[in-house]
């Protein structure tokens, strides 16, 4: 269910755009299951700081990743105005904590530009590409990198 932008020919796709701080990002709409308001999470021990904890999503235990922190942005404590995007990553379902969901974008793959070399490695890991939209820059997020991959990394 993850993005296949880089391999596709000029395919049209729908993306969900969201804001973290003053930056704009987007993910493929097909990987988003639902969007819900922030609810206090139960913190998990021995986890990286970007893992906010777990919440109850209709009986499933859903880990919440603070996407801003994951990308190395400055984040503040979540408030009721923050939203959680519930996304599928492979077999897993996780919640991404973002500031706000802003738009649904319909665009074609060939408009995506590769991430320029100026970005740090950490950002390049998660940002698959960039594109311009009405004079704004939107970064396309690679979801499969968002979760800490192994326990070792988490520790």
């Amino acid at each position: 269910m993850t993005d296949t932008v880089t391999q596709g020919v000029a395919q049209r796709r729908e993306l969900i755009a969201f804001r973290i701080g003053d930056q704009e990002f987007c993910v493929d709409i097909m990987s988003v299951r639902e969007i819900r308001g922030w609810a206090p999470a139960t913190p998990l021990p021995r986890t990286p700081s970007f893992v906010k904890g777990v919440i109850n999503l209709r009986g499933a235990v859903l880990p919440i990743i603070d996407l801003g922190a994951r990308l190395g942005l400055n984040t503040s404590e979540p408030t009721a105005r923050h939203v959680i995007m519930v996304v599928h990553i492979g077999e897993r379902t996780i919640g991404l904590l973002v500031d706000a969901v802003s738009d649904i974008i319909n665009m074609s793959d060939d408009l995506v530009q590769p991430t320029p070399d100026v970005a740090s490695d950490q950002v390049k890991t998660f940002v698959k590409g960039l594109f311009a939209l009405d004079g704004r820059m939107v970064s396309l997020i690679a979801l499969d990198r968002v979760l800490p991959e192994t326990e070792a990394e988490a520790a």
Partner: protein, 803 residues
């Protein structure tokens, strides 16, 4: 899956059921039950396995099943008597048969030597001449097997008898009539003078009541060789005296060819008890036979049709009779000799030349007359109807021996989804009630009352859903007799296994994991617990030892007990070994109970000689660990000279856990109750520091590590002052004890286990998560990990780590 494979899968599923039936029958026989019904049940099971195997060309399975079946057949016909020895051989044969089925299923092969040995043993049961006659020494005569498609009886036994039987019969009859197999020409050319079999076949009413079909039997017989069939319908009374449920017809069949008597009888095996059957070998007097044969001067195909249709003829007469008053219920009248309701038979009105036809004509005439008398005809079916009902009931009552209550096979996934959804429903319902209560609505308001009803309903749904997954422990227990036999053989002891509470139900996930510990405990009981027969006799006990395996429900848990009447635990010796292996100090003071429980220590083995079965010293501690992994406990009680009893108690399900809800560092956590020994409020003077951070607590003069849960999980940096919290004494699977320091105990609750790994990953110190009544997620502590971490003094991992 291609259709053939799926049929094959069904066959193996059926095989499993058949093998189970067979084994329970054999076990009954071992207890001395030589009732023909039991023997027949076993025979049918083996035969059906063989029949199915024939359809799939599973040669090795067929060959073995054939020998097995032949021996059973000898028994059934009373030529072989049930003795202890015979029962034992048969039981072992059943094990080999199960192996064959398993091998056929997985595509593997069976130990050839074992099979050959078993076949020799089986043949040893019947004397050699008979064996030769029965064709046992040939390489499994598969030809007979393949023709004999043994699936039919299985299917029928599962059907609702009354409703479906006629349909089945009609189809079969039509087939029989439409495609006469190799039914011979009437004059039996070339067979005159040659020896032949004369078979007299007189079905009884019971045979029809069991939905058996004479025509099918005759057709089957026709495959063995040239047959001439004669129907003697002289016993059919006039219609007004005819009882719908009686059998009046007799067939005489002349079968030529060089088949053995066993092969001829095999055709009748499913109906043998419900008919009079004579099979005689005759070498001359052909003419005598042909006399009553109506087929003598007709052409071949007509005779074939009639052979198949002979029985239904009088039914047609009946139909003719009932057709006049149409309001009359035809079906109850129909189950005359043949339960073929409205079969429009091609051979319905041939010229009446033989006794049967004449009679039919008479019947028709009678029927026409009778139909004019309305009152009379009405009374007949009125009588017949309740009878038919009774018959159906009787059939249904006779069925359950083989056919259990109707069941469906459901994917476990679907059930799990349902269980999840219901779990969420319960949580949601609890949250809703809490909200309504908080909103200040009166308790007697409609909303509150409605919610109460909803709560009752949700509980009921939850219980029923959990019951879906619950299964009797029988599926595990039934594998045990074989194990006991094998182990007993290997160690040369005589063992009787008594099983109790096989129908105790427990969650499927638990059942799957019961098998290993039970196996271990049984082996242990036989190998270590029981004495040899000589020792037992010397000790004034019966030479045969008894091992009792029981399951029962107690306090919301399932308890499995394995009890033997052997020598009991030799405490001085156990103690000596423990000291020698350095497991306990030489001067340790231990109670009897504590000594008994030493056998659960890792690396402990009392057997002087390491045997194949047990005694590698990994036995009981493995059992204990696997049981604790399931949230269970195991204990032993023993009395020297009288035996010992292991009992393990397990939760009824792995989806739900009994937990103690505690709070630590503002977090709500759940500790599995199975780990908890006791809880206490520590006094400041009992807590001692070793070094800077690590604390121990003195509980009744024993020092155990004190683990601050909030700090161990990284929720807090500074430890809680011991005196302001509660210490929960826990025991880990490895037997290590520790005290967990928490802020408060909130209570004890059953919680639904939710996996963390499903969406995230494993976290050290956390076993799983659960959802509490307020809808928030709480973590379930992994007590083992906490205890071992503290013991290894592993560097603590701080929570806030850079990426």
């Amino acid at each position: 899956m291609d259709p053939f494979e799926s049929i094959k899968a069904t066959f193996f599923q059926e095989c499993e059921e058949l093998l189970t039936d067979m084994e329970s029958g054999l076990l009954a026989m071992e207890q001395g039950d030589d009732d023909s019904e039991t023997i027949n049940a076993v025979f049918r099971a083996v035969h059906s396995v063989k029949g199915g195997a024939g359809a799939f060309g599973l040669e090795e399975l067929i060959r073995f099943a054939h020998v097995f079946e032949t021996v059973l057949d000898e028994m059934r016909s009373g030529k072989l008597h049930l003795t202890d020895e015979v029962a034992k051989v048969l039981l072992r044969a059943s094990d080999v048969l199960a192996d064959h089925v398993a091998a056929a299923r997985s595509g593997g092969s069976v130990d050839e030597g074992r099979t050959v040995g078993m076949i020799a043993d089986l043949q040893g049961l019947i004397d050699q001449d008979r064996a030769a006659e029965l064709g046992l020494n040939e390489d499994g005569d598969t030809s007979a097997v393949e023709e004999d498609f043994g699936f039919v009886p299985v299917v029928l036994s599962l059907d609702e008898p009354a409703a479906d039987a006629p349909e089945v019969d009609v189809a079969a009859l039509m087939a029989a009539a439409a495609a006469p197999p190799e039914v011979p020409t009437a004059d039996g050319a070339g067979t005159a003078g040659a020896p032949f079999w004369r078979v007299t076949f007189r079905p009884k009413a019971e045979m029809y009541a069991k939905a058996n079909e004479a025509a099918l039997v005759l057709r089957e017989l026709a495959r063995l060789g040239d047959v001439e069939v004669a129907l003697d319908a002289s016993a059919v009374p006039p219609l007004d005296q005819l009882s719908a449920e009686q059998a009046y017809l007799t067939w005489t069949i002349r079968l030529s060819g060089d088949k053995s008597e066993a092969e001829v009888r095999e055709v009748f095996e499913f109906v043998e008890d419900d008919c009079d059957l004579e099979v005689t070998r005759e070498g001359e007097a052909v003419a005598e036979i042909s006399e009553p044969s109506f087929a003598a001067d007709e052409d071949a195909s007509a005779s074939a049709v009639e052979a198949a249709a002979a029985a239904p003829l009088d039914l047609d007469a009946l139909l003719a009779r009932v057709s006049t008053p149409p309001a009359e219920p035809a079906a109850p009248t129909a189950p005359a000799p043949e339960p073929v309701a409205a079969a429009p038979l091609p051979a319905a009105t041939p010229p009446a030349q033989d006794p049967a036809r004449l009679d039919v004509a008479g019947l028709i005439a009678l029927a026409e007359k009778a139909s004019q008398d309305h009152a009379q005809t009405q009374s007949t079916p009125a009588k017949a109807e309740p009878k038919a009902d009774q018959k159906a009931e009787a059939r249904a009552a006779a069925g359950p021996a083989t056919a259990a209550t109707p069941t469906i096979r459901v994917d476990l996934d679907r059930v799990d989804r349902l269980i999840n959804a219901v779990g969420e429903l319960v949580i949601q319902q609890a949250m809703l009630s809490q909200r309504v209560f908080e909103s200040g609505l009166a308790r007697s308001s409609d909303v509150a009352l409605g919610l109460e009803d909803l709560e009752l309903l949700t509980r009921e749904i939850q219980d029923s859903v959990m019951a879906i997954r619950a299964q009797p422990v029988k599926s595990v227990f039934q594998r045990m007799p074989r194990l006991v036999r094998e182990v007993a053989d290997m160690v040369g002891k005589k063992v009787r296994l008594v099983m109790d509470g096989e129908n105790t139900e427990v969650d499927k996930t638990v059942i799957e994991r019961l098998s290993d510990p039970i196996t271990h405990m049984l082996r242990n009981a036989i190998d270590h617990g029981l004495e040899t027969p000589e020792e037992r006799e010397a000790g004034g006990k019966a030479a045969e030892g008894t091992v009792r395996l029981a399951a029962l429900h107690r306090g919301g848990r399932i308890v499995i007990e394995v009890q033997d009447d052997g020598r009991g635990i030799n405490r001085p010796r156990v103690r000596g070994i423990a000291v020698a292996k350095g497991l306990i100090a030489e001067d340790a003071v231990l109670s009897d109970d504590e000594i008994d429980n030493l056998i659960f220590l890792p690396g402990f083995s009392t057997a002087d000689v390491v045997s194949d079965i047990s005694g590698r010293g990994v036995g009981m501690d493995v059992v204990k660990r696997s049981i604790q992994a399931l949230g269970g406990r195991i204990s032993i009680t023993s009395e020297p000279g009288k035996g010992s009893k292991f009992s393990m108690s397990l939760p009824l399900t792995l989806a739900v856990l009994d937990g103690m809800v505690v709070s630590a560092a503002d977090q709500t956590l759940v500790a599995p109750l199975s780990n908890i020994v006791e809880s206490l409020t520590p006094r400041a003077e009992d807590v001692h520091l070793i070094g800077g951070r690590d604390a121990v607590i003195c509980i009744r003069d024993t020092f155990v590590p004190l683990i601050d849960v909030g700090v161990a999980l990284g929720f807090r940096d500074t430890p809680l002052p011991p005196a302001s919290g509660v210490a929960v004494l826990v025991e880990s699977e490895g037997g290590g004890k520790a005290a967990l320091l928490v802020e408060a105990i909130q209570g004890q609750r059953q919680v639904v286990i939710k996996s963390l790994e499903a969406n995230y990953q494993h976290i050290h110190g956390v076993a799983a998560a659960t959802i509490l009544g307020d809808g928030r997620v709480a973590l379930i502590l992994d007590v083992d990990a906490l205890v071992t971490t503290s013991r290894r003094k592993a560097p603590r991992i701080e929570k806030r780590m850079a990426v």
